[in-house]
């Protein structure tokens, strides 16, 4: 395990924890520092009488600390890992684990096993069917309401929407939440993110509205579709399978590069989107994780690292959403290769759209592309001079230009309708996250 300081700091829940972590990455603050194959641990003299015990599970990165902080990981966890990154020689190699640490590590592995066992337990089929029936009714009613809303909106026209961009979809979004169709609610929220001050909003809004309608149409006709499509549509409207069920799916073991971690916060709920790319399978995986603010996520993944792990794909047409299972090993570096030309990307995107017309944006790795800036617009240009327009993140583009000096590089992007968003780049064997 050899993370970079930057990767460790990215694990901090906020800037102040990162700052405090840096201050604690000083041997003078620690009365004991140990390491063995499973964990690193230390005792930090804080303001309390007894030093705080800080543990880090190094196999499947996780933190535990006896301090009263509600942040996760706390400053002691960040400080300890940073110190290890800076001065590993200062840690004493110890075979025996302290009891509390050993218990914690065992509990963690037990928990994973329990998850698998849980799904094996018999379920009350009658109660389950009743629950499904009730939810189906709710969802169907919600979908009917959404279709009426969409038709009403399109009947009167969208010309006045920019004046009410934050409110026009407020009620129907709430209605979708009530109808337990969180996926549809999320798609409705996405509409408020359209830049109504920029030319092209008409295209974007018309597309989103018609997409929503097409999804509801497909959902209403799902019985005529394949089982994969049925599951896919249920997942799109927000009726996802339980984690236990997903963990029963046959996992894909690979060296997964953690390409990007995108955090969004709304009403104290954190939505974490982690993109993985399998270096052997050349497959992408999107781990969607939801947890309340200030609570610990189940897994801590540092971007730019490569994990040897089992990822369980949600059964669907898209084969994109995953749930991490067994994590065997983490290495700090990553190296990837992807499409060399814009044509390759567009062909793949067309292929994806033909299979799954609702799947957008599409993830991709691009290699040997250059960044070009002209007339306040950013382009990613391949060696043949074909280009893609980069949207949003002006500052990220300046960062890329500064790092690459206009030379070609590899990037992790998402593509939608001729435009891309860049989340990370690899240049001269180094990984640079941009979110």
């Amino acid at each position: 395990m050899a993370f970079s300081q930057e990767q460790v700091l990215q694990m901090a829940p906020d800037d102040s924890s990162a700052k405090s972590g840096v201050q604690l990455s000083n041997p003078a603050k620690w009365v004991a520092l140990h390491i063995n194959e499973r964990a690193i641990w230390g005792a930090c003299q804080g303001s309390g009488k007894d030093p705080y015990s800080t543990f880090i599970d190094t196999t499947n990165i996780a933190f535990k600390c006896s301090c009263p902080s509600r942040k996760f990981p706390c400053k002691h966890g960040i400080g300890l890992l940073l110190l290890y990154v800076k001065k590993p020689e200062g840690f004493q190699r110890t075979d025996d684990l302290p009891n509390t640490l050993s218990e914690w590590l065992d509990k963690r592995s037990e928990k994973l096993e329990q998850k698998e066992e849980k799904s094996a337990k018999p379920v009350d089929e009658a109660a389950k069917a009743k629950r499904i029936e009730a939810r189906t009714k709710k969802v169907n009613n919600g979908i009917e309401a959404l279709r009426i809303w969409l038709k009403d909106l399109i009947r009167t026209g969208i010309i006045n929407i920019p004046q009410q961009q934050y409110t026009f979809s407020e009620n129907i979004t709430a209605r979708m939440v009530d109808a337990q169709a969180s996926g549809l609610a999320m798609l409705l929220r996405k509409m408020s993110n359209i830049n109504f001050y920029e030319e092209g909003w008409q295209y974007e809004l018309s597309k989103q509205l018609s997409k929503l309608y097409a999804i509801t149409e497909a959902y209403q006709n799902k019985e005529q579709l394949t089982p994969e499509w049925k599951v896919e549509l249920e997942s799109i409207i927000g009726w996802a399978k339980s984690k236990e069920d997903i963990l029963q799916e046959i996992p894909v073991r690979d060296q997964w590069v953690v390409c990007a971690k995108i955090l969004e916060e709304e009403n104290y709920l954190i939505t974490e989107r982690i993109w993985f790319f399998g270096t052997n399978t050349q497959q992408f995986g999107l781990f969607l994780n939801f947890y309340p603010k200030n609570q610990l996520p189940e897994h801590v993944f540092a971007v730019g690292t490569t994990i040897t792990a089992d990822l369980h794909y949600y059964p669907s047409v898209a084969k994109l959403r995953v749930l991490p299972g067994n994590i065997i090993h983490t290495t700090p570096n990553s190296s990837v290769n992807g499409f060399q030309t814009t044509e390759e990307l567009l062909e793949t995107a067309a292929h994806h759209i033909s299979i799954h017309p609702f799947l957008q944006p599409i993830p991709a790795i691009l290699t040997n592309f250059k960044l070009v800036y002209s007339a306040s617009k950013w382009y990613l240009v391949d060696m043949a001079g074909q280009y893609l327009i980069i949207q949003k993140n002006e500052m990220s583009c300046w960062n890329i230009l500064s790092i690459t000096l206009g030379n070609s590089f590899t990037s992790f992007i998402t593509y939608e309708a001729g435009k891309i968003e860049i989340y990370a780049i690899w240049y001269e064997q180094k990984f640079y996250p941009l979110v």
Partner: protein, 490 residues
């Protein structure tokens, strides 16, 4: 896209007002949708999404031949990875004190920062134009290249070689250019300013005049004298303020004449054998109009100080101690001693201190620091940095806050351990005499050898509010000193 405009049109106006009747997209699926027996809105929404999907699946990548101008190869060495890491952390954590120190190290050693930090640092330069020049220098060729590409950052690009910056640059760039020129060649700078002065607006004229303070000399007098006839009162005041400080200027001569005729040196016999010299101040009826014009206030603004003392005081503060002494054929120290013995001493001392500070008169500063109960801390500036330590001790008890700002210089000059320890001892008793930023900045003037002494303060178990604050500051100071140590800086 022509066909998609049909969708946009229907979408904007609403299907109530407009709906395409025939398939404008040449897509069979759309044809089928339009033939269904459903509402207009249903047909529109389904056909629109089909058309969008078909359109996006058939996109062809456009081609461009735009190429960026290459960045010049970097000539300077890159800063150590540890420095860049600390720079990054300081930027993330908003630790401006550490950031400034690391930038100072880069400038001092002619290093450039890691390229991944350049855009963030350029943004910082944009937000703080005073520091912009040094920050852009640290960004090396990459910084210059990016500044030329980004119209926002172009404003902070300081190009020494660019000759026409004085004519075409922004006001900030022109000011920086004139300032640099004044440092190198004061006469050239004056000539540049004279050429354009009347074309500038009043605010710019005043600001440009302020820059003449650097290297001011008698050769600036005629230009400044012409400025006293300016339309703007602010410009006039600024011109007078500068003229007053020029040794040998007409105004200065006017002041010397006033002193000579109103402050008389008398010699009195004492005990028959010895003679004693002493000053005596005459009381003029009114302040001469010519003097008043130069900015000498007519009515005393100081409580308890009579008007004629106030006039003399103001004038004395603009007269060089050596010129004053020459007026009476005395040495500078002798003159000051006599002035201090003068019965109105307390009223005059602030002005004598001002003169010593303004003209950086070491002999006067020394006497004033030694003799006065509460000397002005700025007197220390009359001494070179190496000689200031002893005098700094005087102000620990009385004015530690200002003393720290005297210590904080651009070179981060280290202070002797004894002074550092004395300051810390005082702060232990009065921790709130400084705020957090001052404690942090102070640590960069301490030697890393002081760390064990600082750690002793942390072991102090007194648990009152004051001590907790002090210990927190000490902890932060130790962290910064640890960074200094890590970077091998004593």
């Amino acid at each position: 896209m022509r066909q998609l405009s049909e969708i946009i049109k229907a979408s904007l106006l609403g299907t109530e007002k407009y709906m395409y009747q025939e398939n404008p997209f040449e897509i069979d699926l759309v044809e089928k949708i339009l033939q269904q027996n459903t509402e207009k809105e249903d047909k529109f929404l389904k056909s629109a999404y089909t058309a969008f999907v078909f359109h996006e699946a058939g996109l062809i990548a456009p081609t461009t031949d735009i190429h960026l101008e290459s960045c010049l190869p970097e000539t300077k060495a890159s800063a150590d990875e540890r420095i860049c890491n600390h720079l990054k952390t300081s930027l993330q954590a908003g630790n401006d004190i550490l950031f400034q120190y690391l930038i100072h190290l880069c400038i001092k050693n002619n290093w450039v920062v890691s390229r991944s930090l350049v855009p963030t640092i350029l943004n910082k330069a944009l937000a703080n134009k005073k520091r912009a020049e040094s920050l852009v220098i640290c960004c090396g060729e990459t910084g210059k290249w990016l500044c030329k590409l980004n119209p926002e950052w172009e404003k902070i690009l300081f190009e020494e070689a660019e000759e026409n910056i004085w004519e075409t640059g922004t006001f900030g760039q022109r000011k920086a250019f004139l300032q640099a020129s004044r440092k190198q060649d004061p006469q050239k700078a004056l000539a540049l300013l004279e050429e354009v002065f009347n074309k500038e607006n009043a605010a710019n004229r005043e600001e440009f005049l302020s820059l003449l303070e650097e290297n001011i000399s008698l050769s600036d007098e005629s230009f400044l004298a012409s400025c006293t006839k300016d339309k703007s009162q602010k410009v006039k005041d600024k011109a007078y303020a500068l003229l007053k400080t020029i040794r040998g200027s007409q105004i200065n001569q006017l002041y010397l004449d006033y002193i000579k005729s109103n402050l008389i040196l008398k010699e009195e016999r004492k005990f028959i054998i010895t003679k004693k010299k002493q000053f005596e101040l005459l009381v003029p009826k009114a302040l001469d109009e010519a003097l008043e014009k130069t900015g000498i206030a007519k009515i005393s603004s100081e409580k308890g100080i009579k008007d004629h003392i106030f006039w003399l005081g103001q004038i004395l503060s603009f007269v060089h101690p050596d010129d004053l002494s020459a007026l009476y054929g005395l040495s500078a120290t002798e003159t000051l001693h006599l002035l201090l013995e003068y019965e109105q001493t307390t009223e005059l001392t602030p002005y004598l201190q001002s003169a010593a500070i303004r003209f950086q008169h070491k002999d006067w500063a020394k006497i004033l620091l030694n003799q006065l109960d509460k000397p002005n801390i700025q007197l220390i500036t009359a001494f070179p940095k190496s000689e200031r330590t002893d005098y700094c001790q005087i102000f620990i008890e009385t004015n530690v806050y200002e003393l720290c700002y005297m210590i904080f210089d651009e070179d981060y000059t280290p202070i002797p351990s004894k002074l550092a320890m004395n300051i810390l001892q005082y702060l232990r008793k009065h921790p709130h005499a400084l705020n957090s930023p001052e404690y942090l900045r102070l640590s960069f003037h301490f030697s890393t050898e002081i760390i064990p002494d600082l750690l002793k303060y942390l072991n102090d178990e007194t648990d009152d509010y004051q001590n907790r604050y002090f210990k927190n500051q000490i902890t932060e100071m130790i962290n910064l000193l640890d960074i200094k140590k890590e970077l091998n800086i004593k």
